[in-house]
């Protein structure tokens, strides 16, 4: 590990909390109340009072602002708040990274990374309406019927399959794996809904090359993670889950309008991966379990390759259902069911699942998991990625 980095093991995830996850539009609670419930759950899990929180980090223009949260929770001192800018859920790991920065700099002592979504209250991502004229980048896309998230990322996936001879079976394997893992997860929206090859192959096109099961869910709920110093975390529980590394990642002109990023066929993780592993002091082969954000399955293929967990050349052989499952696979993936089958909480659920794996209490536990990687938002302009580990992983 280079002297440049000093994050490794300095902060820990003291607690995680989630509300019940609902199908989109079905939450009985408004979004703000969901966030409060998730924060309370995370505090209970950490064994702290909510009054100890003095910092908030979120992403994706979360509507539930820290001043109102602090007021509702009756927090005596609000010392830090932070919003990471990117599209989609690309900031899930970034929110944890920013929380860690606040802890390490002494700007705050107990920071919550959170995200809430209630689509009955605020509308869906996958539907686009309206009749008013649009300008800027939207004017170069919407009049041509390119307006949903699936459509924004289908183009790159077409090009991935074309440039690297990636087989579509990789995408199917990822979908099948998520549904398989959801069957054991009591929180999962798709528990009780199994998926097999035939069902996947027969499912309708959303936009070629994405079928229905290549696309994430849309849900209501909220999730929260309590980030503190490792010293404090050790007072709270015997073996805290440590943050080994976290990184945001955008390449040269990755946000260029109308499909003009310089490097086109990318999950946006190429810049981050080298920093992430150096920071964490681990190598790709040390990663025991991976939570890789599925907005769309094609993005997961790119993410795994760019994190060094497989290559363009061997992806078709590595990314199979047998290899990706928690029970015996060589590259256990999305062990909660992820955004495809647990819940689309803009990826914070995947960060939490990485923490569960290190604690040893996942519903699809990987044996003796010491190092867990969780990334967020492939193909967006700025993605983010983190590695969590046990004290044992620190060496």
């Amino acid at each position: 590990m280079s002297d440049t980095y000093n994050l490794r093991g300095k902060v820990a995830i003291a607690g995680v909390g989630e509300t019940t996850y609902y199908k989109h539009g079905q939450s009985p609670d408004p979004e703000f109340k969901l966030v409060l419930k998730a924060i309370l759950a995370a505090c209970r899990d950490a064994g702290i009072s909510p009054k100890e929180i003095d910092g908030f980090c979120s992403y994706s223009d979360d509507r539930n602002d820290p001043p109102r949260l602090a007021n509702a929770l009756g927090i005596p001192e609000l010392r830090y708040s932070n919003m990471q800018w990117t599209s989609g859920g690309g900031g899930a790991a970034a929110a944890v990274q920013n929380a860690a920065g606040a802890i390490m700099s002494g700007s705050a002592r107990v920071v919550v990374a959170y995200r809430g979504l209630a689509q009955g209250q605020f509308g869906r991502f996958g539907r686009s309406g309206g009749s008013k004229p649009v300008s800027g980048q939207a004017a170069y896309l919407l009049p041509f019927g390119m307006m949903s998230a699936a459509q924004m990322y289908a183009m790159r996936t077409t090009r991935l399959l074309h440039d690297h001879n990636i087989d579509r079976s990789t995408m199917r394997s990822i979908a099948l794996t998520c549904y398989h893992h959801a069957q054991n997860n009591p929180r999962a929206i798709m528990r009780g809904r199994t998926l097999d090859d035939e069902t996947y192959d027969a499912s309708r096109w959303i936009t070629e090359p994405f079928r229905l099961y290549d696309c994430c869910l849309e849900n209501d709920g909220a999730a929260a993670m309590i980030v503190v110093s490792t010293d404090y975390a050790k007072e709270l529980r015997d073996s805290p889950v440590l943050l080994l590394g976290a990184q945001q990642s955008g390449g040269h002109r990755s946000g260029a309008w109308a499909e003009n990023p310089t490097d086109y066929v990318t999950s946006s993780f190429k810049p981050a991966a080298k920093y992430l592993y150096e920071q964490a002091g681990v190598k790709p082969e040390d990663v025991d379990v991976v939570q890789s954000y599925e907005n769309f399955t094609g993005g997961v293929v790119m993410s795994l390759i760019e994190h060094g967990l497989c290559t363009y050349e061997n992806a078709n052989e590595i990314l199979t259902f047998e290899n990706l499952r928690a029970d015996g696979g060589s590259l256990p993936l999305n062990t909660s069911g992820g955004n495809l089958a647990e819940c689309y909480m803009h990826g914070l659920g995947l960060q939490i699942e990485a923490v569960r794996q290190i604690r040893g209490d996942s519903s699809n536990q990987v044996k003796n998991a010491q190092v867990a990687l969780a990334n967020a938002g492939p193909m967006v302009a700025v993605a983010s990625t983190a590695i969590y580990g046990s004290e044992e992983a620190l060496g």
Binding site: P143, R253, E259
Partner: protein, 149 residues
């Protein structure tokens, strides 16, 4: 090479408007004159799209608008089936392409590929521009579309 049409490929979608700050007005003026206009840096001659107030290569703010030759090819594509907008409800599948201009620093643009919605689309195919005019709109505008050469 270049064609003009009044036939609307995807009726009922939101119409484009120039940016309020004026940045891309030359582009939209150009499509009404059946010209593909993009930015080119006066200092380092880099082309760029979408438009910006600065050249991304040398950071000069001295940028001109130039008319591109139409030679370009399909870079990527997709065929949406699921109607995400109410105006697309009965439309059925359609094709969106990303085209690239190799002679203009590889800049890319997004449009529809006109013709049979179920046609095979081949990356690398040469395409030519079709200016889809919406002259009855307020204000009038034209979309830059594509068809296989």
């Amino acid at each position: 090479m270049t064609r003009i049409t009044n036939e609307i490929y995807l009726p009922g979608l939101r119409q484009p408007a120039p940016m309020p700050d004026g940045l891309d007005a030359p582009f939209w003026e150009g499509t009404l004159k059946s010209e593909i206009r993009v930015q080119k840096c006066l200092s380092c001659e880099t082309h760029q799209w979408g438009p910006e107030w600065m050249c991304h290569s040398c950071n000069s703010m001295d940028i001109e608008w130039v008319v591109l030759e139409s030679a370009c090819r399909i870079y990527s594509w997709q065929r949406p089936h699921h109607p995400v907008h109410s105006a697309l409800k009965d439309r059925g599948p359609y094709i969106i392409v990303v085209v690239e201009f190799p002679q203009a620093d590889g800049l890319r643009m997004v449009g529809n590929l006109l013709g049979d919605s179920m046609q095979d689309v081949v990356i690398g195919s040469q395409v030519t521009p079709v200016f889809e005019q919406h002259l009855e709109a307020t204000p009038p505008y034209a979309l830059l579309q594509w068809e296989v050469a």
